[in-house]
């Protein structure tokens, strides 16, 4: 059996990759995907702890997160489509209408 720590470390690495993606990448869609990666890292953490503690409540919370993430992705993609219609670009560095 794989020890629980391995899952936790994998989740932490995934979370770090997600954070780096948000900070370093300039394309709105890639940033959105990085945020999804962070959410999934949190889910993996929940499931790993659930297995360690033999507690199914952790899995219930993970399902809830999946539902919320779907709602968030729907709103996020709608916003990306909206901005693409206005600008024909999804590059975040070009969003400078309000820089003073």
């Amino acid at each position: 059996m794989i020890p629980v720590e391995n899952f936790l470390i994998l989740a932490a690495v995934l979370f770090a990759i997600g954070v780096l993606g948000v900070v370093l990448r300039r394309n709105a869609l890639i940033v959105l995907m990085s945020i999804e990666l962070m959410l999934n890292a949190a889910n993996l953490t929940l499931l790993a702890y659930g297995r360690a503690r033999h507690d199914a409540t952790f899995q219930a919370l993970a399902f809830l997160v999946v539902a919320v993430a779907a709602a968030e992705a729907a709103v996020g993609l709608a916003i990306v489509v909206g901005i693409f219609r206005n600008r024909h670009s999804t590059n975040l560095d070009e969003l400078t209408l309000m820089k003073h």
């Binding site: 709105a28 959105l32 949190a42 929940l46 709103v75 916003i79 975040l92 209408l97 003073h100």
Partner: protein
């Protein structure tokens, strides 16, 4: 887990707002494409009014705080006081939205549904007694507000603001969620009260990391420096009634949940005090937030952006209250609640004047556009003056007593004197840029001609906000009494 009718009655206001939101959404779907949406605004106000009325019996019932729905939701006066503050923000924003949406030609009924659903999320948030409820409340609130921010689809600024707000907001939510997963995993419970009592060693690094991630995620939501960079752009680009809603209601909900989680889950001395305790970190953030917000506001020529930075600065003053809560004790919660009420009323009013001033898709936010307003529209200029003086904390206004009570409670701990001095110095700096608008309105030559929007709703909102600000400033006693009664949390 038990589920009985009595618990359902205790959450009646929340049910009214949530079901009302869905109802407005359905009515919009079944009304004609070209029909006016003014009646949906009226319905929204009626729903918010009903929810406010239902909070009155709830206030009595909450005299003894308790937790319902298996401990997920707290029933106490603290959450009722904040819910009503949120209703004030939502109601005034709805009044502003009617005229604003019609004038700028993007009137649609979902707007009001989203205001109600966002309000429901905030109510869940201020009542949340469990990490899961906090996450759900934050998401329900934020998703509604992201869409509202981007709702002016023809405006490039609005969609840009929505994009930035969404990306930063969901980044913060993901950080918060990872923090929740770590705290839940190490302590074995998501209930705030049980986390506070759990036997988990608070030196467990994973638990501490989780704590900081949760608090960091919440700091994003209240726009505390260094997590504030989204706020100026989101506030400036959003349709002005939405900005008012964000500045008032989202901030009140954010501080509500922050107060509760710090007291119940992370209230033990080892987490509160010491160099790494949240009281010290909040003090550092308070100084940074006040100073950066005010210094940045000084440089703005766009009034809406200036008020956006000013709202960052106000988050800093509120953080002084949070520090006082850690160092002095529970009595600091009354001033925080009063400050949130006073600030919500004032900030909705000041953004309301900005919403009133633009017309035909032109928002007139540059300070030069405001020159000579006092001569042409004396009533509006007077309202703006009162509201700005209140934001600056000048006596006889709500903002003055807000700051007075907040700083007075902080002074009960001698160690906090330097923090309060910095806060007072910041209030003085802020008066400069508020007065800059006032001088432009009264002492400068008339700029280009203006035709502010005509709407009974907007006029009513401005009168209510201004009179409310003066009423809280002249007779603060009753609100202070209510806020003091509302300091007890479910424990």
């Amino acid at each position: 887990m038990s589920f009985d009718l009595a618990e359902l009655t205790l959450s009646l206001p929340l049910l009214v707002v949530a079901v009302g939101g869905v109802l407005v959404l359905l009515l919009e779907a079944f009304s004609g494409r070209t029909a006016s949406r003014a009646w949906l605004a009226v319905l929204t106000l009626a729903i918010l009014g009903l929810a406010t009325a239902l909070e009155i019996p709830a206030w009595e019932a909450a005299a003894t705080p308790r937790a319902i729905y298996g401990g997920m939701i707290a029933v106490d006066r603290f959450s009722i006081f904040l819910s009503v503050t949120i209703f004030v923000g939502a109601g005034l924003s709805t009044l502003l939205a009617g005229g604003f949406l019609r004038e700028h030609r993007f009137e649609f009924g979902e707007f009001y549904a989203l205001i109600l659903l966002g309000t429901a999320g905030m109510m869940i948030l201020v009542q949340a007694n469990d990490l899961v409820t906090i996450f759900l409340g934050i998401e329900i609130m934020s998703l509604a507000v992201y869409v509202l921010t981007g709702s002016w689809r023809r405006s490039a600024k609005s969609s840009e603001a929505a994009m930035k707000y969404f990306l930063v907001g969901s980044f913060a939510s993901a950080i918060l969620l990872y923090g929740i997963a770590l705290v839940y995993g190490t302590s074995g419970t998501t209930n705030l009260l049980e986390i506070g009592k759990s036997a988990v060693v608070t030196t467990d690094p994973v638990f501490l990391i989780g704590t900081f991630l949760i608090l960091g995620g919440l700091a994003f939501k209240v726009a505390a420096v260094p997590f504030h960079m989204w706020a100026p752009d989101a506030y400036e680009g959003a349709p002005t009634p939405v900005t008012a809603f964000m500045a008032a209601a989202v901030k009140a909900a954010g501080f509500g949940v922050l107060v509760r989680i710090l007291v119940t889950a992370f209230g033990r001395p080892s987490l509160t005090f010491g160099a790494g305790g949240w009281a010290s970190i909040a003090a550092a953030l308070a100084i940074l937030t006040m100073t950066l917000g005010n210094v940045a506001a000084l440089r703005q020529d766009n009034i809406k952006r200036m008020l956006a930075y000013s709202s960052v600065a106000h988050a800093g003053y509120l953080l002084v209250g949070i520090v006082a809560m850690g160092r002095v004790g529970d009595e600091a919660r009354g001033p925080i609640l009063y400050y949130l009420l006073a600030y919500s009323l004032t900030t909705v009013g000041s953004f309301g004047v900005i919403a009133w001033f633009g017309s035909h898709g032109d928002e007139r936010q540059h300070i030069d556009d405001w020159a000579g307003l006092g001569a042409r529209h004396p009533a509006a200029a007077l309202a703006m003056t009162v509201l700005l003086l209140s934001l600056g904390g000048i006596p006889l206004t709500a903002g003055f007593f807000g700051k007075l009570y907040l700083f007075k409670v902080a002074l009960m701990k001698p160690g906090l004197v330097p923090l309060v001095i910095i806060a007072v110095a910041n209030s003085l700096i802020s008066i400069f840029y508020y007065l800059r608008v006032v001088t432009a309105m009264y002492f400068r030559e008339v700029g280009r001609a203006t035709s502010p929007l005509r709407s009974r709703g907007v006029t009513a909102a401005l009168i209510l906000a201004t009179v409310g600000t003066l009423a809280l400033g002249l007779l603060p006693g009753w609100a202070i009494d209510l806020a003091t009664q509302a300091t007890i949390l479910t424990k």
